[in-house]
Amino acid sequence: MNTARMRGLDQMLIMSVFFLGVFGLAMLFSSGQTDVPTAAAVVWRKQIVWFGIGIFVAALAFRLSPRYLEWLTPGLYAFALFLLVLTLLIGTGAGTASGVRSWLSVGGVRIGQPAEFAKLATILMLARLLANTRNTPTSLWDLLPASVVAGLPLVLVALQPDLGSAIVFVGILFAMLFWAGVNPWLLLLMASPIISLLLSFSPVSWGAWILILTAILVWMRPFVLEAATVWLTNVVMGIISLELWGRLAPYQKNRLLSFLSPDIDPQATGWHLIQSKVAIGSGGFLGKGFTVGTQKRLAFLPEQHTDFIFPVVGEELGFVGVTLALVLFASFLLALVRVARLATDSYSCLLVFGIAGMIFSHVIENVGMTIGLMPITGIPLPFFSYGGSFVVICWATIGLAQRVAWDSRNAGYHA
C-alpha cells in the first residue's frame, strides 16, 4: 500500500483493531495454557491463520466499491437466506450443542457458520433498504420492510437454534433504524412485545409494563390502529409466553433459568455462569498473572477459548485488563461511528453503523453473559474468541469500513 492510501485510512480504527487483534491472540494463547490436556492448546496458531485469511478478505473488501457492493447486496442477501435454509436442512452441530444445526459441512469437513455471513448480508440489505427510503419512517407500518429484512434471517437462525446470533440481528436492526433517524420511542414500541414476553414470567412486573406502555401510547399519539396493534400484541405476548417457553430446547430453558438464579443447579446448568463469575471475580484488581489463572488452568472454566474467553482476561489480568479490553472496544466503536458520520453517501453510512451495531451487540452480549448481566446464549467475543467464520466476517467488515473512510477522505471530508 502506498502512503497516499495509508493516509486515507482511518488511523484510530487501524490502531484499535491492531491492539484488539494482538490482545485477543495473546489471550487465546493463554487460554490454551492449561494443566489439563485440551483442544484449545494449539488454537492460537490456527487463529493466526484465520487472521491471515481475514486480513486477505478485508483487503478484497477494501477493493470493493460501495456502489458495486450496493448492486450486489440483494444477491448476497438472497444467498445468505439460501445458506440458512440449507443449514436447517443439512446442517450439523458442534461441541456441546451437538443437537443444533449451525454448521455447513462438505464431505464431513465443516466449512463455516452461515449465520455469521447472514449478519453481514443483513447489514448490507438493511443499509440498501433504508438508504433508498425517502422519508424517515414515522409509524410502525413504515418499519415493516426493515423488520422483515432482519426478521427472515433472525427466524432462520433462531430455528437452528442459535439464540445468541438471533439477538444480534435484533441489535443490528435497532441500531440501523436508530441511525436512519427513527424516533427512539417508536423503536421502544416496536420492541415492546419482546419486553412483554420477558416480563410475563412475573405477573406484577408484566402488569406494570402494560400500564407504562399504555401511558407511552397515550403520550405519543400514534395512529389508533397501530396503537391498538401494539397494545394487543403486548397482551397476547404476555399470554402465550408460557406456550413459547414450552417450545424452547431444554438447554435453552436451563440457560435462561440459570441466568436468573445460577445456584439452582450449580453442577450442571449454573456451572458456566458460576465458574465464569468466580474466574473474573478472583482476578481482583491486577489479576493472577498472564497464563496462570487457576480457573482456566484446571479446566473449571468451560469454553475458555471461545464464548468464555473474557473471564480468562478477567482472571489473569484483573480489573485493569478487562477495562483495557472495554476501552479498546469502545474506541473501535467510536472509530466506526466517526467513519459512519463522515461517509459520503447514506448507504455507506448505514453500512458502517450497522457493522458497529453488530460488534456492539456481540461485545455487550458476550461480556454481559460472563458477568451474569445477560443470559448465557453462546456468542463469540470479536477478535478474542476462536472461530473461523466469525473472524473472517469481522475482518471483512473492517475492510468495508476502511473503504468507506478512504472514500470520504478522498472526497475531502475530515473529522
Binding site: 489439563v36 473449571f300 478487562v322 456492539f360
Partner: protein, 591 residues
C-alpha cells in the same frame, strides 16, 4: 440530537458492564478469590493410629493389626467393569459385592476407593505383583484388634464410624465424617486421648477432581497409649468362671480403688461382626457391673448394722430372738430359716444373715436414718468410675415414695428396706465399694481403672473417710469373718485354707425368675488387699456364688501359684439361705 442519544446509549451500556466488573472484581473479589482457591484445593485426611490399651503389667489389650484392602483409584482406571470382573476372579469375591462396596466408597477421582477389605496376605502380594490391573492398589490399613476379645469388651468398649447424629455434636471438637469413635467403655470415655491428631495431604485438583499436584503434607500423630489398673489374667479367669452365665464381677484394691478386674457376662467378641447381638435377649452389650441395677439383698444388712451401732440404737451385745416369724401390724414377715435362729446378738445375726434381727434393728432407726446411711455408703450416686453410662441406682426414702410412687411409706417398707429388697437398687460396683469401706477402715474410695495416660501417671487412691467408728467397723468385719469361717455361716462355702476371707451373701429378689445371688468379700480379713463383688443372675441364693468368690480371691492372692480346681466345693442344695418372698403389705387401718 442523534449523536447525543447514541453517546448516552453507548456509555450507559459500557458503564453497566464496568459496574458489573467492579462489583465482581473489586467489591466481591476476595470472596471469589477464596472460592477459586477452594475450587482447586482438596484435603486428603490421613487418620492417626489410635493409642493402645494395656493392663497393669503391660500386656496389650487393644492395639492395631495390619490388614490388606484392595482399592481402585478412579482416575487411573480405564474400564471399571472389566477390572472388577478380573478382581472378582482373582480374589474369589462376588462381583456384585465388589461393585457395591466400590460405589459406597468412591468419592473423588484421586482417592482410592476400597472394593474389598481384609484380604489374605498372599492374595495381597499376588495382586500387588500383577501388572495388568491398572488403577488397582493394595491399601495397608490398620484395624482395632482386641487381644482378649470377649474377656475385655465391657471394660474397653469398641470403636465404630461416628454416627451422623454424634458428628453434629462433636464437629466443633475436631471430629470429621467417617472418623472412628469409641463406643462404650474406655474407648468412649478416653476417646479424646486415644484418637490422636489426624494429618493430611493438600492436593491441587482440576475441575474433574483429578489430582494435578501435591501442595502440602502433615503427618498424623498417634493417640496416647493407656495403661489400666486391670490384671488381664484375673479378668480372663473370672470371665471363664462365668462360662456364659449372666452376671457381673468386679475386683478392687480396697485401699487404692484400683479396679483389678471388671467382668460382665454374657459377652461378645468385638473383633468379629457383633451387630447380630444388638438386640439379643441376653443383653450382652450391657455392662452389668456399672449399669446393672439389682436389689442388694442381705448384703445390705451391713448398712443396717452400721446405722444402728452408730446411732446407738443397739450395742454389739443387743440380742433379739428369732422365731422364724415377725409380726408387724396385720402383716407377717418370715425369716429365711423357718424354724428361726433363736436368741442371737449382732455378730451372730450377721453370720446367720437373720432377717428378724435386722427387721427389728431397722425399725429402731427408721427409714430416714437407714436411707441416709445407705447414701453415706455411696448408694444412689454414681461412683464416677471412668466408664460411660454408669447407673446411679436408687435409695428410697419416705419423701421419695410420696412424690414418685404417690403413696405413703409403710412400716413394711422399712422392713423390706432392712433386708435390701423393695425399691432399693444398687450396681455391683456400688456394692463392692460398700464392702471396701468395711475392709479399708471407713474409707469410701473412688474406684478408677486408668492407671496411666501416655507416660503420665494418673493419681488415684482418693477417698472420703466416712464418719464410722473403728468399733462399729470391727464388729461388722467380725460378722463377715464368721459368716465365711464358721460352720453355720451363710458364706461357709467361700472359706479357703491359707488365708482368711470375710464376706457376706445376699439374695436379690427377682420378679422375672429365679433370684439373683450376691457375694461380697475381702481378704485377707486382717489386712485386706482385695475386695470382690459378684452377682450371678438366677443363682437362687448368695451361697451359690461363694465358690466363685473364693476362687477369684485365691487367684488374685496366689497369682501364678493358683491351681485350678483346688477350691472346688460341693454345694449342698438344701442348706443355702433363700430369700423369703415378701408378703404383700396390707393397707393399714388408720387408728
Amino acid at each position: 440530537m442523534k449523536i447525543k442519544h447514541l453517546e448516552r446509549i453507548l456509555s450507559t451500556c459500557f458503564v453497566l458492564l464496568l459496574l458489573g466488573l467492579v462489583y465482581l472484581q473489586i467489591v466481591e473479589g476476595e470472596r471469589y478469590r477464596k472460592q477459586s482457591d477452594e475450587n482447586i484445593i482438596r484435603l486428603v485426611p490421613i487418620s492417626a493410629p489410635r493409642g493402645s490399651i494395656s493392663d497393669r503389667h503391660g500386656v496389650v489389650l487393644a492395639d492395631h493389626r495390619l490388614t490388606f484392602d484392595v482399592a481402585i483409584v478412579p482416575q487411573e482406571t480405564e474400564n471399571l467393569a472389566a477390572l472388577i470382573e478380573k478382581l472378582s476372579e482373582l480374589t474369589h469375591a462376588d462381583k456384585e459385592i465388589l461393585l457395591s462396596t466400590y460405589s459406597r466408597n468412591v468419592s473423588t477421582p484421586f482417592m482410592p476407593a476400597t472394593v474389598l477389605e481384609d484380604i489374605e496376605k498372599e492374595t495381597a502380594i499376588m495382586l500387588e505383583e500383577r501388572r495388568d490391573l491398572p488403577g488397582t492398589m493394595i491399601l495397608i490399613t490398620s484395624r482395632r484388634h482386641y487381644s482378649y476379645g470377649s474377656d475385655t469388651v465391657h471394660l474397653l468398649g469398641v470403636i465404630s464410624e461416628i454416627p451422623p447424629k454424634e458428628l453434629k455434636r462433636l464437629r466443633p471438637y475436631g471430629y470429621a465424617f467417617k472418623d472412628l469413635l469409641g463406643q462404650g467403655g474406655i474407648e468412649e470415655s478416653f476417646d479424646n486421648y486415644l484418637r490422636g491428631t489426624g494429618g493430611g495431604t493438600q492436593l491441587k485438583v482440576n475441575s474433574k477432581g483429578y489430582k494435578v499436584a501435591t501442595l502440602g503434607y502433615r503427618p498424623a500423630t498417634k493417640g496416647k497409649d493407656l495403661t489400666l489398673t486391670v490384671d488381664i489374667r484375673l479378668q480372663r479367669f473370672i470371665h471363664s468362671l462365668f462360662d456364659g452365665k449372666k452376671g457381673a464381677a468386679c475386683v478392687m484394691h480396697p485401699e487404692t480403688g484400683e479396679i483389678l478386674a471388671l467382668v460382665s457376662s454374657p459377652s461378645f467378641n468385638p473383633n468379629e461382626d457383633f451387630s447380630t447381638f444388638l438386640h439379643a435377649e441376653e443383653k450382652p452389650f450391657l455392662n452389668r457391673v456399672t449399669q446393672g441395677r439389682y436389689p442388694p439383698g442381705s448384703t445390705f444388712k451391713l448398712v443396717v448394722a452400721t446405722m444402728a451401732l452408730e446411732e446407738g440404737k443397739i450395742t454389739p451385745d443387743t440380742s433379739f430372738r428369732c422365731s422364724g416369724l415377725f409380726q408387724l401390724g396385720d402383716s407377717e414377715f418370715k425369716c429365711w430359716r423357718e424354724r428361726g435362729h433363736g436368741e442371737q446378738h449382732l455378730i451372730e445375726a450377721i453370720r446367720h444373715s437373720c432377717n428378724i434381727y435386722f427387721y427389728r434393728t431397722a425399725l429402731l432407726g427408721g427409714a430416714e436414718l437407714l436411707a441416709s446411711y445407705a447414701k453415706l455408703f455411696g448408694f444412689g450416686k454414681r461412683t464416677q468410675l471412668e466408664l460411660p453410662y454408669e447407673a446411679a441406682g436408687l435409695v428410697p426414702t419416705p419423701f421419695w415414695k410420696r412424690f414418685v410412687i404417690r403413696e405413703r411409706w409403710y412400716p413394711g417398707d422399712t422392713v423390706n428396706f432392712a433386708i435390701g429388697q423393695g425399691y432399693l437398687s444398687v450396681t455391683p460396683l456400688q456394692l463392692l465399694r460398700m464392702a471396701s469401706v468395711i475392709a479399708a477402715d471407713g474409707k469410701l474410695v473412688e474406684p478408677y481403672v486408668v492407671k496411666q495416660i501416655g507416660s503420665l501417671e494418673v493419681k488415684g487412691g482418693r477417698y472420703h473417710l466416712l464418719p464410722i467408728s473403728e468399733e462399729t467397723l470391727s464388729v461388722i468385719r467380725q460378722g463377715m469373718i464368721e459368716a465365711v469361717n464358721t460352720p453355720d455361716g451363710t458364706g461357709q462355702y467361700a472359706a479357703v485354707e491359707g488365708f482368711e476371707i470375710a464376706g457376706k451373701t445376699g439374695t436379690a429378689q427377682n420378679a422375672q425368675g429365679e433370684d439373683h445371688g450376691w457375694f461380697i468379700a475381702f481378704a485377707p480379713a486382717d489386712n485386706p488387699v482385695v475386695v470382690a463383688g459378684i452377682i450371678v443372675e438366677f443363682a437362687e441364693h448368695g451361697s451359690r456364688v461363694a465358690p466363685l468368690v473364693n476362687n477369684v480371691i485365691a487367684r488374685h492372692l496366689l497369682g501364678d501359684d493358683y491351681q485350678e480346681g483346688a477350691y472346688q466345693v460341693e454345694l449342698p442344695a438344701d442348706s443355702a439361705p433363700a430369700s423369703v418372698p415378701i408378703i404383700p403389705v396390707p393397707r393399714e387401718r388408720p387408728n
